[in-house]
Point group: C2
Chain length 185, copies 2
C-alpha cells in the first residue's frame, strides 16, 4: 500500500491535487474490495436459498429453489461476473495512484464501471421484482404469494438482494468520484 | 442552432478540439430528444395496455391492466420522470456548445446521467422480469402464463419495454461520449 505521508504539499507543482486524489484513489480501491465481498455474498447466499416443505395437504408444490426462477439464476450469474470484474478493475485503479495524470485510463474505468452499473442494476431489480411478487402475489394474474409457504426461501433470497444494492451504491459513488477527479485534472 | 461552419481549423489554438466536440455535443442533444420520445412512448404505450376478456369459462379473472402490477406502475412513473429529466438536461448540454471548457458542468451532467441510468434500468428490468413471467409462467411457484389469455395486454406491455431499453442504450452512449470528451480536455 502506498504511504499517505508522501502526499503532502511539497510536490505541488508536479501533482497539484495529488494528496487529495491519492486518498480518494485508496478509498476507491477499498470500496471495490467491499463490492467484491457484497456481490459474492449475494451470489452465494442466493444459491443457498433452496427450501423443501413437508406438507400434509393437497398443495402440489413441495420444493422451491432459486434455479426454478430464470431471473434469480440471472442474478447469481451476474453477481459472480461483477465480483470478478471488481477484482480485475483493482489493478487498473491502482495505476492512478502511481500515475495521477492518466486521463485516458480513468475514462476507460468510468465507462466500464457505468456498463457494470447497468448490468448489475438490471439483475438486482429483476430479482427484486420476482421476490416482491413472491412476497405479495398478484390477484389479477392469480399468482399466489408463495412466501406464505416458503418462508425460509423468501427470507434468504430477499436478504441476498442487499449485497447487490450495496455494490450498486458503491459503483455510483465510484463513478461520481472518478468523474469529479477527471474534471479537476 | 449553432452553425457548423464556424468550427473549422482556423481557431485551433483557443479551441483545440472545438470542431469535433461541437459535432458530438449536437449529436448528444439529438440523442437526448430521441430519449425523450422513447421514454414517453414507453410510458404512454404501457398505460394503453389494459385488456378485458369475455370468456365463457370458469376462469375468475376477466380483466388485466398495467395498474394491477405495482412493478408496471413503477415503470410508467419512472419513464415519465426520466423523459422530463431529458428535457431538463438539454439546456445544460447546450451550455457546452457555447462554453466548450465547462468541465464542472460536464461532470455534473455525467453524474446525473449515471443516476438516471440506474433508475431507468431498475424500472425497465423489473418490468421485463414481470412480463417474462407473464409470458412463461413458473411451475414451481404455480404462477400461470397469463399471456395465453391476455395476448393483447402482453403484446402491448412487452412492446412498451423497447422504448426504455432504447433510452438506456442512448444514456450509456451519452455518458461514454461525455467521459471521453472530459478526458480529452
Amino acid at each position: 500500500m502506498v504511504s499517505q505521508t508522501e502526499t503532502g504539499g511539497t510536490s505541488k507543482i508536479s501533482f497539484p491535487t495529488a494528496g487529495n486524489n491519492r486518498g480518494m484513489l485508496i478509498l476507491g480501491i477499498i470500496l471495490r474490495i467491499a463490492a467484491i465481498v457484497s456481490t459474492i455474498a449475494s451470489a452465494v447466499y442466493m444459491t443457498m436459498s433452496d427450501e423443501q416443505l413437508q406438507l400434509f395437504t393437497q398443495v402440489s408444490i413441495f420444493s422451491v429453489e432459486y434455479e426454478d426462477f430464470s431471473t434469480l439464476r440471472y442474478f447469481v450469474v451476474i453477481n459472480s461476473i461483477v465480483s470478478a470484474y471488481f477484482a480485475f478493475s483493482i489493478p487498473l485503479a491502482m495505476i492512478h495512484i502511481a500515475r495521477s495524470t492518466a486521463k485516458q485510463s480513468r475514462a476507460v474505468l468510468i465507462i466500464m464501471d457505468m456498463v457494470t452499473l447497468g448490468v448489475l442494476t438490471s439483475a438486482a431489480s429483476a430479482a427484486t421484482a420476482i421476490m416482491f411478487l413472491a412476497h405479495n402475489g398478484n390477484s389479477s394474474a392469480n399468482w399466489n404469494a408463495i412466501c406464505n409457504q416458503y418462508t425460509g426461501f423468501c427470507n434468504k433470497a430477499s436478504a441476498s438482494l442487499i449485497g447487490s444494492f450495496v455494490a450498486i451504491v458503491i459503483l455510483m459513488f465510484l463513478i461520481s468520484m472518478s468523474t469529479v477527479a477527471l474534471a479537476r485534472m
